[in-house]
Amino acid sequence: MSDALKQSLDLSMFWEYRAILLQGLIFNVLVFLCAASVALSVGLGAALLRINRLWPMRLIGTLHVEIFRNAPDYIMLVWVHFVLPLLIGIAIRRRVEFHPFTSAVIALGFVYSGYFAEGFRAGIQAIPQGNLDAGRSFGMSERLILWRIILPQVVRRMLPEALNLFVSMFKATTIVSLIAVPDLMYNVSMVIQQEMRPLPLYTGAAITYFLLIFLLSVGVRHFGERWRRTSMA
């Protein structure tokens, strides 16, 4: 075995810095949770626009989906962090700066909102009209029908696809180090600059990400599927 390979598999260095690396990982999780909330709520909003009765609303919804679904998250992140504050600054004639964490949440949240919007839209349109007729016939308001009849079914239908999206989203949180959010990758590079030993640190980071995402998605799939199957048409 070559020395380089041995070095790359020796994870004691990774373990040595576990405190700072764990702190970074917590940032990944925080960015993920906040961006996921943004993606879900903005995505639902865009989906409702896309199925609105009025065509200007539908146009706005479609533009939203097309713009954000077709923008690379890497570029969106840089654009939101460096260009968007400039534009806002010009508009309100004041210097604006985004905290890196804020930029990361906005960029990832909006990019993935495009995907979630399509999932929501397809899920909503797949619900039989009769389900809605039944709700209306009992005097349920459109709002009540959305929250009690449509969305619970949409969530069940979307779950497998949503899980995939969440996995890619969590992986995408690794690029936030680019704009100096102190996440796991950012801290790994800091340690590498000190220790000059990239191999064990990168390997450790890879294994950490893999284990975390793998275990979480297996868990969600296991419990989610059982819940989904018992209560779907």
């Binding site: 039989p128 009769g130 389900n131 007729d133 039944a134 709700g135 209306r136 016939s137 009992f138 005097g139 349920m140 308001s141 459109e142 009540l144 009690r148 009849i149 619970p152 079914q153 069940r156 018992t230 209560s231 779907m232 048409a233």
Partner: protein, 288 residues
């Protein structure tokens, strides 16, 4: 067109106006004369197709009115108009004298109701659909208590107690915790009837409730409907089950091309049909 029908269509009596003119001391006598549901001159058009061309009839409280007619005669559209799932283009529905789609103020001016007001009126009518339309993500009991809790704002405990009573009535209490996907069509339809009953509606509307069921499953649903009729439930029943209509109804309405072609007590309509169209329609069923 008969003179009586022409008169009914052109001048429906607005019961709320009648009521407001009646002195306060004798409301019970007047109320008993107010039909539970009055269908007055309903027109409905889908693009160039005029599906309903002025349909009027009364459903007195505690009575069963069956609507029969060939496919495409407007039966289902009529029922959907009765609770404004399809707002009628002209005409009005009255529920115990109150117009469903409009309000009449003290001066007698009509004002269209908002969607929220129509929703509030709709809950007085329990609808049973051809395709059951149970909500698949809720258990049978969940389906039954949903609207009483969310719309009627009943406390959960009360809704469950009454929901279970309704499920007992349709003999579905042992399936209360099942999801609809695990039930047969007949069981789903009985659960849907319980769901409608749980709202304590003033009247029940059945839209071809047995048409999508296998023949061996229709009887269990018709049995439940028969019991409801015997208990004095006000019902409008759109149906293809002629023997059921004959046996259970107080009045039968034959719809043809969006108009009431003939109506009367079941003995007359089935025993001595006057119009040629009804005779033709019934002979098709006799052959079967």
């Amino acid at each position: 067109m008969s003179i009586a029908r022409a008169a009914r269509e052109s001048a429906p009596i607005f019961m709320s106006q009648v009521l407001s003119q009646v002195p306060n001391e004798a409301p019970s006598q007047v109320l008993s004369e107010v039909p539970s549901i009055r269908v007055a001159g309903i027109h409905k058009r889908f693009g160039p197709l005029e599906v309903l061309r002025g349909v009027s009839f009364d459903v007195p409280r505690g009575s069963v009115v069956s609507v029969i007619g060939a496919s495409g005669s407007g039966k289902s559209t009529l029922l959907r108009c009765v609770n404004h799932l399809e707002p009628p283009d002209a005409g009005e529905i009255y529920i115990e004298g109150e117009p469903l789609g409009a309000r009449v103020d003290a001066r007698g001016n009509r004002k269209a109701r908002s969607l929220a007001e129509i929703n509030a009126m709709r809950r007085e009518l329990g609808v049973v659909f051809q395709q059951f339309n149970l909500w698949p993500h809720m258990t049978v009991l969940g389906n039954v208590i949903e609207a009483p809790i969310r719309v009627r704002k009943l406390p959960r405990k009360e809704a469950v107690a009454y929901g279970e009573e309704c499920l007992r009535r349709v003999r579905m209490i042992d399936k209360a915790n099942e999801y609809p996907a695990r039930l047969s069509g007949g069981q789903q339809q009985r659960a849907a009837i319980a769901r409608a009953l749980a709202m304590r509606p003033k009247a029940m509307l059945f839209d071809e409730a047995t048409s999508s069921l296998d023949p061996e499953l229709t009887d269990e649903v018709l049995g439940v409907m028969r019991e409801l009729a015997a208990d004095g439930t006000t019902m409008i029943v759109v149906t293809h089950e002629m023997s059921f209509a004959r046996e259970v109804s107080d009045r039968v309405i034959f719809l043809h091309q969006g108009l009431v072609e003939e109506e009367g007590p079941p003995g007359d309509v089935f025993g001595a049909p006057k119009s040629e169209r009804l005779q033709q329609f019934l002979s098709k069923y006799r052959k079967q």
